[in-house]
Amino acid sequence: MQNENAIQTINLTKTFKSKIQSSEGGFFKRKTVIVNAVDNLNLEIKRGELFGLLGPNGAGKTTLVKMLCTLLPPDSGTALVNGYDVVKEQMKVKRSLGTLFSVGERGFFWRLNGFRNLEFYAATYNVPRQKRREKILEVLKLVGLENSAFELYQKYSGGMKRKLALARTLLPDPPIILLDEPTTGLDAISSRHVRDFVKSMVKETGKTVLYTTHYIEEAAQICTKIGILKQGKIVALDTPDALRAKIKKDELIYLTFEQVTQAQIEKIRSLQGVIAVTEEAEPNLMPDEQALRVELKSVDQLPLIFDFIFEQKIKLINFKQEEPSLEDAFIELTKKA
């Protein structure tokens, strides 16, 4: 029976020893630093899921990807990909995976064209010879490189190189795809193209994708589930909406008035439940308008503010209540952990 998890890790751990130059005693003195890149990680990614792994630089995302694709052996624990153990069943794992490294374009050969580069990798991934040409043209079309297939790789732009790396990942038609920071270094249009492509691919083919990124909104846009990684540990794991809801923040409202006096601002500041009032400098305001950022203990205090506004006959031009963003959630959760 097929395991319902495409990827599963059980107490997965990877530690690195790193020698760094000591700040004292010249460049021959070095000290050893131990870094827990992945620390007893337990993670389950269901089949057909587009799972976002979010984390700041150095959180352990690339280390995890490298362990899953068998490049890096774990120190302890287990990782299963498509039900296969990454240590004991490496070939089966490799046949189940397509991996795009964060610097994937470096594995290409500059003096070959895009097609020839993929032809080489198609052979290494056992793509049948009779279907190879057709498959290469198919993946090149999928990533939007069909018109540049026979251009030399060295003439490709950064975005095209990334797309070719993505095409290479798709060549063997693997059920599971690891995308390690696939949009790093891409412009906004290329990034959006990659995101849209990944999202529609998962929807249409049911492939499982592990998508690592440190761009919070990118993960929110396309992933069905997000894990936040910090110092090798998952500190939060949920849907993007649920992650937003998880953080308890003070309520924030933005009010724009016409002709409000300093005394009235002071009065709002002194109302029960108001934590802080900040005068906001907004470029689009008219000379007699004033924007305030009001921090409340809870939304229950809102009626008090509105009562005061009506009582004072202050003209309210705009009212906006701020939702906590995923970025807030990310900062909050990585700070707590």
């Binding site: 990877k14 690195f16 020893k17 460049f27 890149a37 280390t63 490298k66 694709c69 068998t70 490049l71 890096l72 052996p73 070939m91 490799k94 046949r95 995976l97 991996t99 490294f101 610097v103 994937g104 470096r106 594995g107 050969f109 990798y121 290494t124 991934y125 056992n126 290479r168």
Partner: protein, 265 residues
């Protein structure tokens, strides 16, 4: 800005390179050794006894001896460096995550080098035959046997060197020492018999001498039986060095993967 400021910049350029260079300690030693032994090779080449020794040992002139040496040295050079060429860290990572075995990877990455070297050898020999009167009497089966054993041995050495390079990142002492052994003791430029006794011993315990002696004899009229004593030693070296080289390369690769340093260069 004044001259002082520009001089300070130049100093920092040099300091940058010096500090980077000093981190590759193995490489520094190798460079010193190479310089010393390179100088020795050319000093011996200039000795007047070379011509006479060649005629006595190989019954041929020095031009023939040298051309054959240089031609087949291409194979040795290729075999010595070919595994190293495969360890471009990024291409290595990309291939290692594909369902391709290490053996396929090494053979596949090196095959073109040998095809090219064969062409180069042919050019050397044709020029020798048509322009310098070199006379070749090639025993094809014997030549193929010598080539297979010699190339196998040097691929084994290359795997040891490349494995070390994967760990040290720059400076592969094995390949460097073997390059020295080829130029000084390898019977390429001059017969090691002209060397002082202690240095001659080094020639007799290193593979380049046996490969070069066998190939020089087998393509100038000797039979397999005539070169058998040296061929046996070459075969023995090949039988030991290839599996040892493979094991060391695999171990170093595993260690670099474990340490996460495979793509560090």
């Amino acid at each position: 800005m004044g001259v002082g400021a520009e001089l300070e910049k130049i100093w920092y350029f040099m300091k940058r390179d010096m500090v980077s260079f000093s981190t590759y300690k193995t490489n520094i030693l190798i460079l010193i050794f190479t310089a010393v032994f390179g100088a020795l090779s050319f000093a011996y080449l200039g000795q007047s006894s070379v011509n006479q020794t060649v005629t006595e040992l190989y019954h041929t002139n020095y031009t023939t001896y040298l051309l054959i040496g240089l031609a087949f040295n291409t194979y040795l050079g290729q075999a010595l460096t070919l595994v190293q060429k495969t360890i471009n860290p990024w291409a290595l990572e990309e291939v290692l995550v594909s369902p391709t075995s290490l053996t396929t990877f090494i053979i596949g990455s090196s095959i073109w080098g040998f095809v090219w070297s064969t062409g180069v050898v042919a050019i050397y020999l044709l020029i020798g035959v048509y322009f310098f009167g070199v006379v070749l009497t090639i025993n094809i089966v014997g030549t193929l046997i010598v080539l297979v054993l010699g190339i196998g041995t040097f691929i084994g050495i290359s795997m040891i060197g490349s494995g070390i390079l994967i760990l040290t990142k720059q400076g592969d002492p094995v390949t460097a020492l073997m390059t020295i052994a080829i130029s000084l003791f390898g019977n390429v430029l001059f017969p090691p018999q002209i060397l002082p006794a202690p240095l001659r011993i080094i020639a007799y315990i290193t593979p380049p001498y046996y490969f070069m002696t066998c190939i020089k004899e087998i393509i100038t009229g000797s039979t397999i039986a005539m070169i058998m004593p040296n061929l046996e030693i070459l075969g023995l070296m090949c039988a030991i060095i290839v599996p040892v080289g493979y094991y060391i390369y695999e171990w170093c690769l595993k260690t670099a993967r474990k340490n996460g340093t495979l793509s560090w260069f």
